[in-house]
């Protein structure tokens, strides 16, 4: 069995070698799904096993987005899951030596766990968790906002398995003055400087201690793919995906709001008070994004569908609402003049996206847009126009729409 596994490794090494037109000889330590750093310049679809319709926004660092019609699965498979990296994928992921350290001002005493200890010492839990990039939808903002120009596909809801961060923190022992947690990963800064932390973000203690906040080692029942944080990832649903730290090595329990790179303004912050489009906003007037706003996507059919007159159109998709639940889902074929209800499922668990469907009839032939609008349990709905402009182009939860032609 063992030799067979080695043979498979050699085979994939040969395949990878073919990919870059060169022979790569791997040691016996080649971890499963490991992408050698040399291949970080290679074909992303093969390297990361992504669907051909995924869109590469950036190749250094790798940022790849999905599309509404690709997100039709109830649980997002790896092939259709967006990648958002701030730095370079770690070169060495030796799972046998991988450890997670919990430290910071507000732990009684720092403690380090091996992967095996995490897996055996604590009860395991599985949740479907919606994680959306804070900048999903940035492309539509005007004046344009700096950063990767995400359109719709910076969101996914996979099934994550791991242990509760709360269980681990209780085992370590947390002081009463704990305010925030901050993660540290094994990714490498774009400059290659090993001293520079790529990104280190976190959440307040109450979010950290929620049942659904996981230290995960499985995605959709398998080891987490390398690009998504193998072998260990913090997964925190409902908040900007940047709090779900990949390649997790360390969690600091802080007695202040965490101050790691990309916690500071303007990263993942929006103006505390509304501003006019294009305004300059002072750092001290920018507030940290917490729960993401209510949003939905029509995942079927793909935009551009042509149907015959008299035929009804079945539509479906998903809706999510940060820490809240989606209470109502509607569609409009007349640019919001009238709205009709969709069938809306309850979430599989808290912080999972919810599935909706409807059967749409059209009164006559012509060009239509089907718009979808979700309303959360606090009564807030998606706007039809862009929400208020912000300097970094975060939180665009404007209604999604598809074009339909009836002939």
């Amino acid at each position: 069995m063992k030799s067979r596994r080695n043979f498979i490794k050699q085979t994939s090494a040969a395949t990878l070698g073919a990919l870059i037109g060169s022979r790569i000889v791997f040691g016996k330590n080649l971890p499963k799904d490991y992408v050698p750093v040399i291949l970080q310049d290679g074909d992303p679809y093969a390297m990361f096993n992504k669907h051909k319709d995924m869109v590469v926004l950036n190749n250094k660092p790798w940022n790849i987005e999905s599309a509404p019609h690709l997100l039709d699965d109830k649980i997002t498979p790896n092939e259709k899951m967006f990648i958002r990296n701030n730095g370079l994928i770690p070169e060495k992921t030796d799972v046998n030596k991988w450890t997670l350290t919990i430290d910071g001002e507000s732990v009684s005493k720092p403690k380090t766990y091996t992967l095996q200890e995490l897996k055996t010492k604590f009860p395991q839990h599985t949740y479907q968790l919606t994680i959306e990039c804070g900048g999903n939808g940035r492309k539509e903002f005007n004046p344009p906002a700096k950063g990767n120009q995400w359109e719709y596909g910076g969101v996914a809801c996979a099934e994550w398995t791991g242990v509760r961060l709360a269980d681990v923190l209780k085992d370590v022992g947390i002081k009463a003055n704990a305010v925030y947690i901050g993660y540290y990963g094994a990714d490498v800064h774009l400059t290659g400087n090993p001293e520079k932390v790529v990104i280190s973000r976190g959440v307040p203690m109450n979010k950290a201690m929620e049942d659904e906040t996981l230290i995960a080692f499985k995605m959709n029942g398998k080891e987490i793919p390398l690009a998504h944080g193998y072998p260990l990832r913090l997964v925190i649903g409902g908040w900007p995906a940047s709090v779900s730290g990949k390649w997790l090595k360390r969690i600091a329990v802080r007695n202040i709001v965490h101050d790691g790179p990309k916690m500071e303004a303007p990263s993942y912050r929006v103006p505390c008070k509304p501003v006019a489009p294009g305004d300059k906003v002072k750092d001290e007037d920018m507030c940290i994004i917490e729960s993401m706003p209510v949003k939905s996507l029509i995942t079927y059919p793909k935009t551009g569908a042509m149907i015959d007159k008299g035929n009804a159109l079945n539509i479906r998709g998903h809706a999510w609402a940060g820490d809240l639940e989606v209470a109502k889902m509607e569609y409009s074929i007349d640019f919001g003049a009238t709205w009709k209800p969709c069938k809306l499922d309850k979430p599989a668990n808290r912080l999972a996206w919810q599935h909706f469907s409807a059967t749409v009839s059209f009164p006559e032939d012509g060009y239509y847009e089907v718009w979808a609008r979700a309303t959360d349990s606090a009564g807030e709905s998606q706007p039809m126009v862009l929400p208020n402009w912000n300097p970094k182009g975060y939180l665009n939860n404007a209604c999604h729409r598809i074009a339909v032609k009836v002939k």
């Binding site: 870059i20 037109g21 060169s22 022979r23 790569i24 000889v25 791997f26 040691g27 016996k28 330590n29 080649l30 050698p36 750093v37 040399i38 590469v56 926004l57 950036n58 190749n59 250094k60 660092p61 539509e140 005007n142 004046p143 344009p144 700096k146 950063g147 990767n148 120009q149 774009l190 400059t191 400087n193 520079k196 790179p261 059919p301 793909k302 935009t303 551009g304 569908a305 042509m306 149907i307 035929n311 159109l313 079945n314 847009e369 039809m384 126009v385 862009l386 404007a398 729409r401 074009a403 032609k405």
Partner: protein
Amino acid sequence: MIDSNRQKILDEIQRHIKALTRGIYALVIGVATLIYYLLNPSILNVDVQSKESVVVAEAPLPEYENGIHLATGFKEGENLNLVIANCTSCHSAKMVTQNRATRDGWKTMIKWMQETQNLWELGESEPLILDYLAKYYAPEKAGRRQPLTDIDWYELED
């Protein structure tokens, strides 16, 4: 009875031959592997440098096509060499080409990269780089919500 005994003996011999054959195979494979390893001792090392040693013969590519610099995707324009030299050593050209900003906006990004991302001082190249970025990657006028464009129409079969 005799036949049956003879059959047993034959079976026994056959088993031994099979076992022997397997042993010989294993020995040959083992020796071959050992020889290969002795000749190529680097087989067990991660050898990422070997990329350098491979020469792929390629016809020279045209540098620009339809006003786009093929190697980077940048728009053809004056001072592009400075932009490539200073802006693509850490991140890819796509970080620039997918963004749009005014001269001030680009300057703010450069300042942010210098303050937080170890970008060096651009010196007298800075105004030239800003000239290029502000000219070729300027904001386009857009409303609060644009009409849907580039729709790829298809027959929906249900």
